[in-house]
């Protein structure tokens, strides 16, 4: 393991524990939904409508406020034909990903969440969700939401993003 590998391994662990990921497309979402109210690609309205799907949006996987979305980037796959943990038909899940640490308020514990992108189809353009903590510039890819993580899939065409639970962020007490 050379120095860069060590740096990167450190970065990954640090990142997993202390940050969440801001949307790859946050500013796109802002730009599309923001000024004109309801433009060609309407990202704002759908989110409103889905608000009623679950009593508590923090526990609704198709809602941006879902607890696992603390580091979400881009379009929620549950709005695109997949779910919060699976890709839509005809797409492929990226093997590398950014990971974040999210707290589930129902038990107050922190979990490691992997934001695996689904790839191979043009942008879903539904349920844009961007959360803003801990983002870093592109020269720090493991912490940057402005990198397209479909780089690791067989095509790098970005479609939507899942939220996979990997485990607790700290070892269980013995």
């Amino acid at each position: 393991m050379n120095r860069f590998d060590r740096w990167f391994a450190h970065a990954s662990r640090h990142v997993a524990r202390h940050t969440s990921r801001r949307s790859f497309l946050t500013l796109l979402g802002a730009s599309l939904a923001g000024v004109s109210g309801f433009p060609v690609l309407p990202v704002a309205r759908a989110a409103e409508q889905r608000g009623s799907a679950a009593a508590d949006p923090v526990q609704d996987p198709n809602h941006c406020e879902y607890w696992r979305n603390c580091g979400m980037d881009g379009f929620l796959c549950g709005c695109c034909g997949g779910s919060s943990t699976s890709c839509p038909p005809g797409t492929e899940m990226a093997k590398t990903t950014w990971i974040g640490t999210c707290r589930d308020p129902s038990d107050g514990r922190d979990y490691i969440i992997a934001y695996n992108d689904c790839c191979g189809m043009s942008t879903c353009n539904r349920c844009m969700c961007g959360r803003h903590e801990g983002d870093r510039p592109i020269y720090y890819p493991a912490k940057s939401n402005n990198v397209n993580w479909c780089a690791s899939a067989s095509t790098n065409v970005y479609h939507c993003t899942t939220t996979l639970l990997l485990g607790l962020s700290e070892p269980e007490p013995p």
């Binding site: 393991m1 309407p42 034909g81 992997a114 890819p141 070892p171």
Partner: protein, 397 residues
């Protein structure tokens, strides 16, 4: 348990990672790499929204929506100048799409294909190369068609000479090209027959042999007056007939129940006072029919003759056997296209290109059921493809 963090600056996650104990059932470790499949039995209210993405035409799309829940079930990428999907009435667990691609998206080498996709995985099963002549139009459902036996797909070409490319979808093979001089578009009209509409008010019938080659062509003359009360370039399939509304609000019927295409006398959909009030046909796909209910759905708005493709504001419903208007459905938002599901509790879909919204109504009750937002870039056409096998009903006359 410890976090499984791989080496390298990104976390490499292996597919099929082992089970985990993260506490309770709600916090089980997820499996990485899962991709959804569609149920093998589609529901009658599943509806495709076709999106030509007219402001970025290399990025054509289609989106499958469950009309009963408003959920999006999946999407497709369909290339440059996409029109619509082609669904065989005889289901084969797959569907078809005539598509155009450029090696450099907007330049370079052109490739036209029929893409055959699996109906459960939405994956590409096969591609059948076509001559690069596919018509580029503002989308119409009948830019392509499949024979009623599900065997041959015909793709409308315009170079600007017009012809049909015939594809044997079973053999995954381009069969050949058949000229349709003076005529355009393609409508299925029986197991091995198709027809096209002609600028001079005729229809041209193309019949195929068992191998897909041309059996014969014949013309049906003087159906309508292209300089007068011309018919729409989009119609409603109803049993063994196609129904076309006209500029002045008449309904023209092209019947092939006898095995030969013939035009029945048109009859008025609009009362004289409705004509005077400017009610008129609308949109890119402005009619739909429900076979068992013998109903015609007619998208209308008020406007001058030159507005005949403008968005429609209401859907007027007719009982075809008695030629009576039975109800009107005021749309929530003007629509460019409509479709009606084939089941006994039919749903009416209306798509708004300007807001990228799909509006769903009870076709019988007229009640607005739900609106599905974010259904595309410039969504243009709707399809409820999972219709029943067409009944051999005769058209009303």
């Amino acid at each position: 348990m410890p976090v499984r963090v791989g080496l390298g600056w990104c976390v490499m996650l292996l597919l099929g990672a082992g089970p985990v104990a993260a506490g309770d059932a709600l916090h089980q470790e997820d499996i990485i790499g899962k991709v959804k499949r569609l149920p093998s039995a589609p529901a009658p209210h599943w509806i495709w929204v076709n999106d030509a993405a007219l402001s970025s035409m290399p990025d054509g799309r289609a989106m499958l929506v469950d009309g009963d829940t408003g959920t999006v079930l999946g999407m497709l990428g369909t290339g440059y100048s996409f029109a619509a999907l082609t669904h065989a009435l005889v289901p084969r667990g797959e569907f078809y799409s005539a598509e155009t691609y450029y090696s450099r998206h907007t330049r370079g080498a052109r490739t036209d294909i029929v893409t055959i996709r699996d109906a459960e995985t939405l994956a590409v099963r096969a591609e059948v190369p076509l001559p690069p002549k596919r018509a580029s139009t503002i989308p119409r459902l009948n830019d392509a068609a499949i024979t009623d036996d599900g065997r041959f797909m015909a793709v409308f070409n315009l170079t600007p000479a017009t012809s049909l490319s015939i594809v044997d979808v079973e053999a995954r093979r381009f069969v050949g090209e058949i000229g349709i001089p003076g005529c355009s578009l393609v409508f299925p009209a029986g197991p091995r027959a198709l027809f096209s509409l002609c600028f001079n008010g005729e229809a041209l019938v193309t019949e195929l042999r068992d191998d897909g080659a041309l059996a014969r062509q014949y013309r049906v003359e003087k159906i309508f007056d292209a300089e007068g009360d011309f018919i729409a370039d989009n119609g409603a399939r109803h049993g063994d007939a196609w129904l076309f509304p006209s500029l002045d609000g008449n309904l023209y019927t092209l019947d092939f129940s006898s095995g030969v295409l013939k035009a029945l006398p048109p009859w008025p959909l609009l009362a004289p006072e409705e004509v005077r009030a400017g009610w008129r046909m609308s949109g890119f796909q402005g009619v739909a029919a429900h076979d068992r209910r013998h109903e015609l759905y007619f998208l209308v708005h008020q406007g001058t003759p030159d507005t005949y493709k403008d968005f429609g504001t209401e859907v007027w419903v007719y009982e075809l056997a008695h030629r009576t208007a039975v109800r009107r459905i005021a749309l929530r938002h003007p629509a460019v296209s409509i479709a009606v599901s084939a089941d006994d509790d039919p749903m009416l879909g209306a798509v708004s290109m300007d807001t990228a919204e799909l509006h769903l109504y009870g076709a019988v009750t007229g009640r607005h059921l739900r609106t599905v937002a974010e259904v595309g870039v410039t969504s243009t056409l709707l399809q409820f493809p999972w219709r029943d096998t067409p009944e051999k009903t005769s058209p009303e006359r």
